[in-house]
Symmetry: C2
């Protein structure tokens, strides 16, 4: 977490602006749940990516700040609505809004956040604002597409790897991508730099989501801030569940029988043990590594990968996280 | 409906563009509910207001078309999410999305619509796009505020007239207002014209909502496209419920006793009869008339109120509607 401590002044600044985006005039039924959610601790990865990408191409962080805030407000909107759809009870270690209040309150808090996100984004200081807003809207739609695919796949026995990758690229990687891309645009980067930063965000986003899905099975619950195995209960399609089924279809591992579906294990501990035994944890970690390497290759064309490169440091942190 | 028949080429154009805003690439779980909703018949009042306001100040309708589509997409988003929160089963004579599919699908369809709305709005042809987008975002947030107030008031025994007006001005009138205002901006109107069109939309919006709330009690259900009295079941605060309580507190009408709360009537027919007896239908209609007159006064400063003035004709239609 060292890099996040170093970057605390920056994320604190984002936090202040996030809270300022909540108008005093808001009805209490909107104001309270939004502030409650904005104050739950988050690493602010997307706004940091945005600000650091702006800086990486020689721009001023101040110019990108409204965009960074807009990206986080948008991200929060997706979390609040996803939690309703997934019926999750915990987020960042706190009760979800629909659980603490009700579904209507959570829908509305999310809706207001997206208006607030755009309002902030519209204040970014750049002469390429139209392009920035175009990218942002495209991103908003893609995230919804990704979430729709995620839901759709829950109802299907098996999906292909290509389908899984399409889903997470829209649901997760696209927002990482535009966070970096928009930062580089506001920072006045060259087209090559902007493309490289977009690629960095995208590859890292894919790796991040695959890893996230893996951690949902194997993480330490006390650190995860939500229930381990919550994806499992819904037969959510993840890289691990996909590979598990593929593996059992190809060959029956010697000496042991495994249930056909990953959600049929008697306990999460048995499942965990099986995933290690079958080499699926290691295989998944290697796939994650591949995406992270590609992300760093792109980043390196813009900024050397040294200890002063905070984007590199954050990537290293994500690579090693256990929860 | 004569004016809407005359304007059919315009609303058909809007309809085509609405459906084009749904990307081919959308997952079927997003595409189907959105297209289903977009195809339910609506009068397209907000986009028509937008286009006609643009024309009223001498602008070209074509320039405002993306904004008109954006306003309708946004309006549809609010309807879909409101219907979830209000647990309504019918909208425009068809099953609501959360009823025909499920709550998750309806949340997501609404979310995608708001991204689509912005994307369309961003394509408006004007050199004042930043201002247009600023007004739009402010509008998005205000609508959420209004909806939050609406929910908040359901849990309270009585609200003041000022509170009711604040709620409907945010929930309904503000979108009418910016529809006209944005149209006049894109049309290149003078500041006085833009302000007048904004005022027209705002006053009409207030009148429209008060009338809408009244029609929820007294309309012919077969024409309304939703269940009559649906507001009542939730003790929704409307102009009529507000005035009913005020009236009974001031004086006990001679010869008859009425329940303390409007939702305590044994049947909708008894309630209807009482509202007529107490003069509340007439009183409410007069209040609506007041707002409509103020709207027309503002409109008249931009366009003479003659049969060629379509905004005037729509206003006359709304004034006389029975459902």
């Amino acid at each position: 977490m060292e890099v996040f401590e170093k970057l605390a002044p920056l994320s604190d600044r984002v936090q202040q602006e996030l809270e300022k985006a909540v108008w005093e005039s808001f009805p209490v039924t909107l104001r309270e749940p939004i502030l409650y959610f904005l104050k739950t601790p988050g690493k602010k990865i997307r706004p940091l990516f945005n600000l650091l990408s702006c800086q990486a191409v020689g721009g001023r962080i101040e110019d990108a700040l409204p965009a960074a805030v807009g990206l986080e407000l948008f991200h929060d909107f997706t979390l609040i609505h996803d939690d309703i759809m997934d019926q999750d009870e915990l987020r960042r270690g706190s009760l979800t809004i629909h659980k603490k209040w009700d579904v209507g309150t959570a829908i509305l808090a999310g809706d207001a956040l997206i208006g607030m996100a755009y309002r902030s984004m519209q204040q970014a200081r750049t002469d390429r604002l139209e392009e920035v807003l175009h990218l942002f809207s495209e991103g908003v739609i893609k995230v919804c597409e990704g979430q729709a695919l995620d839901k759709e796949f829950e109802g299907r026995p098996q999906i292909s790897e290509a389908e899984y990758l399409e889903m997470i690229s829209k649901k997760t990687a696209w927002l990482f991508r535009i966070s970096c891309q928009i930062g580089a645009i506001i920072g006045g980067g060259t087209e090559a730099q902007i493309d490289a930063m977009a690629e960095f965000g995208y590859q890292l986003g894919i790796g991040f989501q695959i890893q996230d899905d893996l951690l949902d099975f194997v993480a330490d619950e006390s650190k995860l801030g939500k229930h381990v195995g919550s994806d499992l209960q819904r037969d959510k399609k993840t890289y691990v569940t996909l590979k598990y089924r593929e593996l059992l279809e190809k060959r029956s591992p010697a000496g042991k029988t495994y249930p056909k579906n990953i959600y049929q294990f008697a306990s999460l501990n048995e499942l965990k043990a099986a995933l290690y035994e079958l080499g699926l944890v290691e295989e998944t970690q290697q796939v994650v590594e591949g995406y992270i390497s590609r992300a760093l290759q792109a980043l390196e064309t813009v900024q050397p990968l040294n200890p002063e490169n905070h984007l590199y440091q954050i990537t290293q942190f994500l690579r090693q996280r256990q929860y």
